[in-house]
């Protein structure tokens, strides 16, 4: 056996639906939670389109029977993954996961460690920081429709990232996390537990990628993001799974008083990707910005569900989701601003914009409001349209050929969201990813221009 074929880890691959296998050593209380979660997963019904939370969604794609849990990773594969795991140039720390195994970790600086920052794997955190872990791990209910899949995640999650930023610590450079799906019908259960204390500041970017193009796979992730009082948390998701992957991601953000949380989700890959974002504003002066950009083509379906939950008075939230749709792609936006009783002086905004580039693309928008307090300012808007002929004409009069002009207009449309991030390095990175997807798509735009 050559070194390249040595297995880095070897686990019996079993179908997801066969239930809880033997995983690595975890504390008994966690194991109990997992058993309960599995029962919950089994007892909850499979979603149907009649469920309001799954309206318009292609629920037929949620057949989990082909997908396997566990598997083997060879040294050669590991090397390939590490080579391809390039994102940002400078980071404060980095973790790379293949399936559910942590295969490499660039630790944070000693200085940060000294100031109390904890950056470690989830399974270590449940032993070493059990109190924090138990307080925040999946503490928010999966309210947006995927309770069944959140239970599945909880039952099968075996690794992930734990990041704790103590009071007053600001981490300037981003923390970077990679999740790779490796092999046919492979599955992953990514998890990020991010807890910030008072006045802390951190930026995290997660990359979701596949080793093999075109092979089916399944990802089911949960993130718990906790912004403590006055903290500033920025979370970026760069989703670029292979085009046959079915992915579900459930993120919940808790924003304490005077804290601000910003999230940006970029969706480029997968066959079906559902992204649930719950943002709970629990303290006065809290602010949450929810951003998303999707470039959908072929048969892709992006299904975004959001809840801006204003629990406390004097809170603000602002959502901007933009979709560009080509070929037979579909997008769904189901968003809700909820202002709980007594959450006065809420200022909430929600906007979804769809740019349709082909006659078979379909955009579904369900922007919703539930307002139970009266002293509020809430607005939402949804638009669906196509490239403005005048804009196109203007660019053509400047000698720019139609396909290039179209590309520029679409890029400009999506870029507005990316620029809101106020983090030039990450914005630039996301911008490049969008450009790459365009490059792949150019054939179609040319065809249509004729």
């Amino acid at each position: 056996m050559t070194k390249n074929e040595t297995a880095i880890f070897e686990k019996q691959a079993a179908p997801i639906l066969s239930g809880l296998g033997e995983t690595r050593e975890v504390p008994g209380w966690f194991r109990d939670q997992q058993r309960a979660a599995w029962k919950q997963f089994e007892s909850l019904p499979q979603p149907t389109r009649k469920d309001q939370a799954w309206r318009f969604a292609n629920v037929g794609l949620l057949d989990l029977s082909p997908f396997k849990y566990g598997g083997t990773l060879t040294e050669k594969e590991r090397v390939t993954i590490l080579e391809q795991s390039h994102g940002l140039e400078e980071v404060a720390g980095r973790m790379i996961f293949a399936g559910d195994e942590l295969i490499e970790r660039d630790v944070i600086s000693d200085q940060l460690k000294k100031r109390g920052v904890v950056f470690q794997s989830l399974e270590r955190a449940m032993v070493e920081h059990a109190d924090l872990f138990r307080k925040h791990f999946m503490s928010q209910p999966a309210k947006l429709g995927s309770a069944k899949f959140a239970s599945l995640h909880q039952a099968l999650v075996s690794s992930g990232t734990f990041l704790y930023v103590p009071r007053g610590v600001e981490i300037e450079l981003p923390i970077e996390i990679f999740h790779w799906l490796n092999g046919e019908n492979a599955s992953a259960f990514p998890h990020l537990l991010l807890v910030t204390d008072e006045l802390a500041k951190v930026t995290v970017i997660e990359h979701f990628r596949s080793v093999n193009e075109h092979v089916p796979g399944f990802a089911c992730g949960v993130n718990d993001l906790v912004a403590g009082p006055g903290a500033k948390v920025t979370y970026v998701c760069a989703q670029n799974w292979a085009d046959n992957v079915v992915a579900l991601q459930m993120n919940s953000t808790t924003v304490d008083h005077d804290a601000s949380a910003m999230s940006l989700n970029l969706h480029l890959g997968s066959r079906y990707s559902r992204f649930e974002s719950l943002s709970r504003l629990i303290g006065e002066g809290g602010r949450s910005d929810l951003l998303a950009v999707a470039m959908a083509k072929h048969e892709q379906e992006f299904d975004a569900r959001t809840l801006q939950d204003h629990v406390s008075p004097h809170t603000a939230s602002d959502l901007l989701y933009k979709n560009a749709l080509d070929d037979r792609a579909r997008t769904i936006f189901g968003g809700l601003i909820r202002v709980e009783p007594h959450a006065h002086f809420t200022d909430a905004y929600q906007k979804v914009r769809n740019l349709l580039l082909s006659d078979d693309a379909e955009a579904n928008s369900m922007p919703g409001l539930e307002i139970l307090a009266d002293n509020v300012r809430c607005t939402h808007g949804a638009t669906s349209g196509q490239i403005d002929e005048d804009e196109l004409f203007y660019l053509r009069t400047r000698g720019i050929p139609v396909p290039v002009a179209q590309r520029l207009i679409v890029a400009g449309f999506l870029d507005e969201v990316v620029q809101r991030l106020d983090h030039p390095v990450i914005s630039e990175h996301l911008h490049r990813m969008i450009e790459e997807k365009f490059a792949k798509n150019r054939g179609n735009l040319l065809k249509r221009a004729r």
Binding site: N354, L356, A361, A363, M366, P367, V376, G381, G385
Partner: protein
């Protein structure tokens, strides 16, 4: 402005009275095949109508309540306690003098006959299950306009009405359209011949007078090519101790180039369940416009729809909802674009007072390969008290390029600066609030026929009483 000029008096207190029942025909409480046969026998339905009713009953029993998205309050309806058919057992009268005195008194208190003399082209008044009075101005009748009750329409003009009856809203559209199909009685059947423009509005007035009673009127309006008609309906019921059910089906057919305007001022007592299905079909160049004001009822679920089936068809819904304590106005609109160059417009304004809840539920659908379709939706909600609630649930599907759809909604409170300014000028807080609310709906109300806008303003003032201070 004096209230006598109003088309329909919607002062809630004015409707809150009732007369002793003297029904000759009574289908009893509960719903079964026997009930349906009883209604069919009384009405001497043709066989196909009887079969239609039985199919409706079957579908109604099979379908579940839509509680996965709708208010759980629907479960409070006890279908076994409801009386499905009540009538005095007489034909509708053509002359006001022939109407029995007690019923006449009811409608006179509500101001119906005077209104007819003033400006209506025709009027029909329904008391529980049957029309008690129906008249159409001679000049309008001579133009070939048919304005009759549903029973008479199906019996005497099957060649006109059967073609469209149950076609715009099929039996199985929803549980309550199925229920209506099984036990429908009353409502208006209107046919406007090609090119005829009915100058004055046709009107129907609905009244529930008996406790535990369900009113299930059915209205079908066909505007033939190039014709125009405006229809207005108003409704009241006294407040009984047990809830009452009103579940109508209204179908509108606007053939090529026709225009139909349908105006509703709903002021049921605050324990009426008002579950109504309303849909219009607009052929080429035709226009269907719903003006929908919901002031009364305990729970209203009503989403007037337009299917734009022909090129350049237009659909419009203007909606005002006012939800006070104990009320849930679950209203909205549906716009189904099914041809090129179709345009639709939805403007909805709601006001929630006290513990009231106003919900906007909308659907805009632009399917594949259509060109130059446009939709504009605007929903504005105003919240008066800290306990008031408002929701907005639109669903918009757009396929393909070449169409433009936009939706906007806002929720706000009456501006304290405005109130302060008006108080400074000597208005009380309540007066200022009322003025402010009227200003909020003003641009919409201005589009209504004058008689209605005056009445609505007055009604809003009434509802605002005691909401502040």
């Amino acid at each position: 402005m004096k209230t006598e000029t109003s088309a329909v008096d919607i002062d809630r207190n004015k409707g809150d009275f009732f007369y002793p029942e003297a029904h000759v025909r009574d289908a009893g409480a509960g719903l079964s095949e026997r009930t349906v046969h009883y209604i069919s026998d009384v009405k001497e339905d043709p066989d196909w109508v009887r079969e239609f009713r039985l199919r409706g009953l079957k579908t109604f029993l099979e379908k579940p309540l839509p509680t996965h998205w709708a208010s759980k309050d629907l479960e409070a309806i006890d279908f076994d306690k409801i009386r499905y058919y009540l009538s005095p057992g007489t034909e509708a009268k053509r002359s006001w003098d022939e109407v029995p005195d007690d019923i006449k008194r009811t409608f006179e208190r509500l101001g119906i006959p005077e209104q007819e003399r003033k400006f209506l082209a025709g009027v029909e008044a329904q008391f529980d299950s049957e029309a008690v009075y129906s008249n159409i101005k001679k000049a309008v009748g001579e133009q070939g306009v048919i304005f009759v009750g549903s029973t008479e329409g199906l019996k005497n003009y099957p060649e006109i009405f059967r073609k469209w009856f149950g076609k715009v809203i099929p039996i199985a559209d929803n549980k309550f359209s199925a229920l209506n199909s099984a036990v429908f009685s009353g409502g208006s059947f209107i046919y406007v011949p090609p090119g005829v423009k009915v100058k004055h509005p046709l009107q129907a007035y609905f009244r529930i007078n008996a406790e535990n009673f369900g009113q299930f009127e059915r209205t079908l309006i066909i505007a033939d090519e190039g014709s125009e008609v405006t229809y207005m309906e108003g409704c009241t019921a006294p407040k009984f101790n047990t809830p009452t059910l009103h579940s109508a089906v209204v179908e509108l057919v606007a053939l090529k180039g026709a225009k139909i305007q349908y105006i509703t001022v709903q002021n049921w007592a605050s324990n009426v369940f008002n579950l109504v299905t309303k849909r219009g079909l607009a052929q080429e160049n035709a226009e269907v416009k719903w003006i929908d004001c919901n002031i009364g009822s305990r729970l209203t679920m009503k989403y007037p729809s337009v299917i734009m089936k022909g090129r350049k068809a237009r659909g419009e819904v203007l909606s005002i909802a006012l939800a006070n304590d104990g009320q849930h106005q679950d209203t909205g609109a549906k716009m189904i674009h099914a041809a090129d160059e179709t345009t639709s417009n939805i403007i909805s304004k709601s006001i929630s007072i006290g513990k009231g809840r106003a919900t906007y539920r909308g659907l805009v659908h632009v399917p594949k390969h259509l060109k130059n379709c446009k939709n504009n939706t605007e929903c504005d909600a105003l919240l008066i008290n800290a306990t008031s609630r408002t929701d907005t649930y639109p669903a918009i599907t757009v396929r393909g390029t070449g169409n433009a759809v936009q939706h906007e909604a806002s929720v706000s409170q009456v501006s304290t600066d405005q109130i302060f300014y008006m108080q400074q000028r000597g208005l009380t807080e309540a007066q200022a609030m009322s003025l402010s609310v009227n200003g909020f709906v003003n641009d919409l109300v201005r589009q209504f026929p004058m008689e209605y806008s005056v009445e609505l303003k007055r009604l809003i003032e009434l509802e605002m009483e005691g909401s502040v201070g």
